[in-house]
């Protein structure tokens, strides 16, 4: 991997010491984000997406958490860095937006105070300059009458407006990487679309890499360049958004897409079964206990190595190993890589070059 990448995460493992033993939330995960691109981490609740992203800048509490692996940001290892050095990066170069804007702001301070705090702890900026910049950003993220609302308290804002303020707070330090952890989940659908559009515009404007966590594949389809599918702390599949939507390789990805009626999904009521116990994950593929194609080889050893099934698309599934028959897990509409048939239109997204 070239080291000029914006963010490279290698073998990231986050565990928590609990009364019932060690809980492994993220188990040896790799992914990377480049400037200007949006990478989505997808998976159901409890699959370790949030923990993975909060491990990047170590905002997870340690202890009880313990983070191992390598997180390189512009070539510097964030996990090996002293806390004080990392603090200069948090909020300044790498910014976070969280899931619940209702709780993410301190109710005792004005939104202006909270936005300028993010700027002034990193940069030597006068109060007037900080205010001007914050008002400018509030205006940019779509808060009407921003200079008057600067002195309002969070409870005087609606949920969508609060998330806009949170975005302004994240952007005030001109970050190069924005980590957005389900930023639209707590918002209603119309507001969701506005926030997504806003993030999309701002990404271009600020030329940021965006790491976007969501369980909502509908959101992914709108914003992602690349997708990382996580399940039970492991990466199941990764690839470009069109590849994943068009010919999902992993049975888990396929089932996730099956749950989406707007993409032709027919499964009602979700994927049967539940996530494995993170204290004691199963041998072999983590998804094997819920997988309809699982066989003996799936239940032994480690999570299968990732196998490239099309350029940039890699899957962790034994059925793609040499000598195995991948057609077992492929849907009817699967067209092999390099095949001449286009997707039959069942997927909502089709390849641009088809």
């Amino acid at each position: 991997m070239p080291s000029d990448q914006l963010l490279e995460v290698e073998d990231l493992t986050t565990t928590f010491g609990t009364d019932d033993g060690t809980l492994t939330a993220v188990d040896g995960v790799d992914f990377d984000v480049d400037t200007g691109e949006t990478v989505c981490i997808v998976g159901e609740s409890g699959s370790g997406k949030t923990v993975a992203t909060e491990s990047i800048t170590r905002i997870i509490k340690t202890p009880p958490g313990e983070i191992e692996g390598t997180v390189r940001y512009k070539g510097r290892d964030l996990l090996a860095m002293p806390e004080s050095e990392l603090r200069d990066i948090r909020g300044n170069e790498i910014a976070h937006i969280f899931q619940n804007p209702q709780e993410a702001m301190n109710h005792c301070y004005t939104v202006g105070w909270q936005i300028t705090e993010a700027l002034q702890i990193h940069q030597d900026v006068s109060d007037e300059e900080a205010r001007a910049k914050a008002v400018d950003l509030m205006d940019r993220v779509g808060i009407a009458n921003a200079s008057a609302r600067f002195d309002d308290y969070p409870h005087e804002f609606s949920g969508g407006q609060k998330q806009r303020v949170m975005i302004a707070m994240a952007l005030v330090g001109d970050p190069d990487l924005l980590i957005a952890d389900e930023p639209t989940t707590a918002l209603d659908v119309t507001v969701q679309a506005q926030i997504l559009r806003l993030l999309d515009e701002l990404q271009e404007e600020f030329d940021m890499g965006v790491l976007f966590v969501t369980h909502d594949l509908g959101v992914v389809a709108e914003i992602a360049d690349r997708i990382v599918v996580m399940y039970a702390g492991k990466v199941m599949e990764r690839g470009g958004v069109l590849d994943i939507f068009d010919h999902p390789a992993h049975p888990y990805t396929q089932q996730l897409l099956e749950c989406l009626p707007e993409f032709g999904g027919t499964t009602v009521g979700g994927i049967p079964g539940t996530l494995p116990d993170p204290h004691d994950p199963p041998d072999g593929c983590r998804f094997a206990p819920r997988c309809e194609y699982a066989e003996g080889a799936c239940r032994a050893g480690e999570q299968p190595e990732e196998i490239e099934v099309s350029p940039g698309q890699r899957v962790s599934c034994v059925h793609y190993r040499p000598g195995m028959d991948p057609s077992v897990v492929r849907n009817d509409n699967f067209e092999p890589v390099g095949g001449d048939g286009a997707a039959d239109g069942e997927g909502g997204v089709s390849r641009a070059d088809d």
């Binding site: 905002i59 603090r87 948090r90 619940n100 993410a104 702001m105 109710h107 702890i121």
Partner: protein
Amino acid sequence: MGFGRYVTARVLWAGVVSLVITTITFLLLSAAPNPDVQQATTQAALQGGDPAAAAERARELRGLDEPLYVRYFDFIQGVYTLDWGWSSSRSQPVLEAVVGALYYTAQYSIPWTILTVILGPLVGVYSAANMYSWRDHAATGFAFFGYAIPNFFFGIILLLIFGVWLEVIPVVYNTDVAVFSVENVVQLAIPVFVLVTGSIGALMRVSRNESAEFQNSDFMKTAKAKGVSPLRAYAYHVMRPTLVPVSTTLVGQLLALFLGSSLLVEVVFGIPGLGRLTFEALLSQDTNLVLGTTLFFTFVAVVGNLIEDLVFTVLDPRISYDDR
């Protein structure tokens, strides 16, 4: 309604409350037998005079033959013009006696209040930040000890140790030393310590539990993600919201101790303050003086609650001034 109007309304309301309390005090007193009249009656009977005539004279002398409403307006006027009558047991005006005693009470109450207000939340938040460590356990143990042990008893023990055995402090408070002198600080250290242990416990517990909630809040995660240092995060993002519930506990705690324990502590340490003044006025049945100290404590309570309400609205911006 803006903040200014809210403050005005609260202050006016505090005035009304104090008027209601004064009125009730007056009615209770006028219904009770007057000790001076009783004394005159007894004396006349003993000396072979006419008890009824003596009682009449005594009542006339004190204006008690006037109609109730006239006496009420006189009384109210007296209270608000600081003419609180004559203390027969001390042979000085009541106000003078109260102010004189307040001089000594203030000397230990002010440092006691300041220490409580600063130490209580600080130790509580520190305790929460190091939850279940030995420091937290030590602070918690101290809080429960101070809260549980009766102040006067703790005072007697400490007086025995430091006053009688070690002879570091005088057994009876020495009024001759200057207010701002080392001797005064030394002799007040023990009573202040005793009162702080009594008042700090509840505050520490409240701030520990409240801040435990805030230090795990989403906005602390936001602060951390912004790059805020732990010290700043605790000072701004935990301490500030913690002070809101703490402020409601604080005034009640201080007032309860001010009215109750300080009286006992003053008696134990021989400090000629308000507590002892009240105590002695009760013993010598000096009605005017009892009334005077009661009124003083009442006003302290009313003003204390007023401050609490105002501080509360300043600390928590979500509390609106509307509709009140």
